[in-house]
């Protein structure tokens, strides 16, 4: 549905997005991760035909980003939740949405139905006649999402949809994203919340001007940091830690009664580790495999 090849954006001499090649499939929720200034917003703006690309190609569906004739068609088929909500504070929630509906050739009846559906879905229907300026941050964010969906777009770009929201509001928004996913929409989600990406995304990419990784959250976790085991002991002491290091393993975390050990193939290696611990006088209570989190992978990649 979304496809880019060597997509690049420069502002003057500054390269902000550098040769990004990626593909987002139909109905997929795609997480676009990256630190501040990574170029996420710039990429989305290029894909929504808001700013020009410097080089490379990008396609949305059958349309070509940067092709004059296709620009409007692309804007007609995508919905964009901008980084800043940008609502008309003086206008009511209803009027904010109704205003946008007019640009997509929706007649009044159609607009009415769609607004009612969206506002009910997001729990804002009761407050439809209140000025958007009186809404809380979370409500504004939801209203802005409704605005992005007013024309029932196939492709949805969400630029940090849960930024600045309290955990509860963030959850409502995430749940809504999952609901949209069920409707088979293609969703491109900019975020720097790894937890969020892990919860809602089918695949993620990590951007830092260049694309530094792409895959499912599980794939990234596996490929980029080896496996780990967590050993719970009655008591940890230096002798035990030394004994493990001596047989060639890295101990990445030491607590009062636990050790996290980097391994390659725990099915084969655990036996040796257990023996070393016992020989050093340790008493093993549990042994489990712990996956590294997406956060580990992210930090490792982003810090280079």
């Amino acid at each position: 549905m979304i496809e880019t090849e060597n997509l690049t954006k420069k502002f003057g001499d500054l390269i902000v997005v550098d040769n990004v090649t990626l593909r987002v499939n139909d109905g997929e929720v795609f997480g676009f991760l990256g630190p501040n200034g990574a170029g996420k917003t710039t990429t989305v703006r290029m894909l929504c035909c808001l700013i020009s690309k410097t080089s490379g190609t990008a396609r949305i569906g059958n349309y070509e980003v940067g092709n004059r004739a296709d620009q409007q068609k692309i804007r007609r088929m995508v919905g964009l939740l901008t980084e800043n909500v940008g609502l008309y504070e003086e206008l009511s929630a209803y009027d904010n949405l109704d205003f946008y509906g007019r640009f997509y050739r929706m007649d009044e009846q159609k607009r009415k139905e769609q607004i009612e559906y969206l506002l009910k879905m997001l729990g804002l229907w009761e407050r439809r006649n209140e000025a958007a300026g009186t809404f809380s941050k979370g409500m504004k964010q939801k209203l802005a999402i409704a605005r992005a969906l007013i024309h029932d777009p196939q492709v949805l770009f969400l630029d940090e949809p849960t930024a600045n929201l309290d955990p509860e509001a963030a959850k409502t928004v995430r749940d809504f994203i999952l609901e949209l996913k069920k409707q088979k929409r293609t969703i491109f989600l900019n975020t720097h919340l790894l937890d969020e990406a892990e919860k809602v995304c089918d695949r993620v990419a990590i951007l830092k001007t260049r694309l530094i990784a792409i895959g499912t959250p599980q794939e990234l976790r596996r490929s980029l940091s080896g496996r780990k085991i967590k050993v719970q002991l009655q008591r940890v002491d230096d002798v035990i830690v030394e004994a493990i290091k001596k047989i060639g393993f890295q101990v990445s975390e030491i607590t009062n009664n636990g050790l996290v050990i980097d391994v390659n193939d725990p099915e084969k290696e655990n036996q040796a580790i257990l023996k070393a611990i016992e020989a050093a006088g340790g008493y093993v209570q549990f042994i489990t495999e712990t996956g590294s989190t997406l956060e580990d992978v992210y930090l490792k990649l982003v810090r280079g």
Binding site: F11, R45, C48, L50, I51, S52, Q72, R75, R76, V78, L80, T82, E83, N84, V85, G86, L87, Y88, E89, E90, L91, D95, F99, Y100, R102, F103, Y104, A144, R147, A148
Partner: protein, 246 residues
Amino acid sequence: MDLQSAWAVAAKDFKIFKRKSQIIYITIAFPLAVGIAFPLIVQYALYNAKSHLVGGLSITGLMDAFSVWFLIGAAIIPAAIASYSLVGEKIQKSLEPLLATPMTDGEILLGKTISGLVVPLAAIYAGSAIFMVLMDLVTHSKLGYLYYPNWHIGAILLVAPLICLFSVELNIIISSRINDVRTAQQMGMLSALPFFGLYFASEFGFFAFNDSNLLILAGVILVVDFVVFFVSRATFQREEILTKWK
């Protein structure tokens, strides 16, 4: 060019204007001030023999001079209103979602121009209607005929929209650089300076707002309109707005 989209933008602006007391005051105060206060001054001048207000000017000269205020209004009122509609969008950051719709830049710009023009023109035409009626009421017994309507005010009311347009387009250019409604309004009001100049020049007899001079003025403003329009059109580009408007 989809006129419906442009109109939707303007209609949305009108809804917002209705909630801005400053805009409402200006649009009500102007016609009242110009339409009522000036005839009262003429009335006073006519029936107070001692008054030197009429001085060198004839009654009709005084009326002609006062009618120039419609031109000054045409420069000032749009400055007050258009800055709300543009800097307002900028501050609320509502331009980006708007630019993400299928609308073209031209359609958005047209909508903004309509909303910047309609309210001031309504105020000016309403004011001029009151002005003409009351002036006739005050002066017809002295003059022995109805002075208004006449070509002079007709010419002024034809030039007024051109000045409004100039003021609106100028405001679009100003708004691309300014982030504060007050400042944008003040800068926009500078566009009234030349008309103040002409007004005082006419009061002191250096310039006459006669029909031929008004025609020349109209021609000059028309040319200026084209220039400002093209500059504002060049300023109002998606990419420019999102990346260069600070």
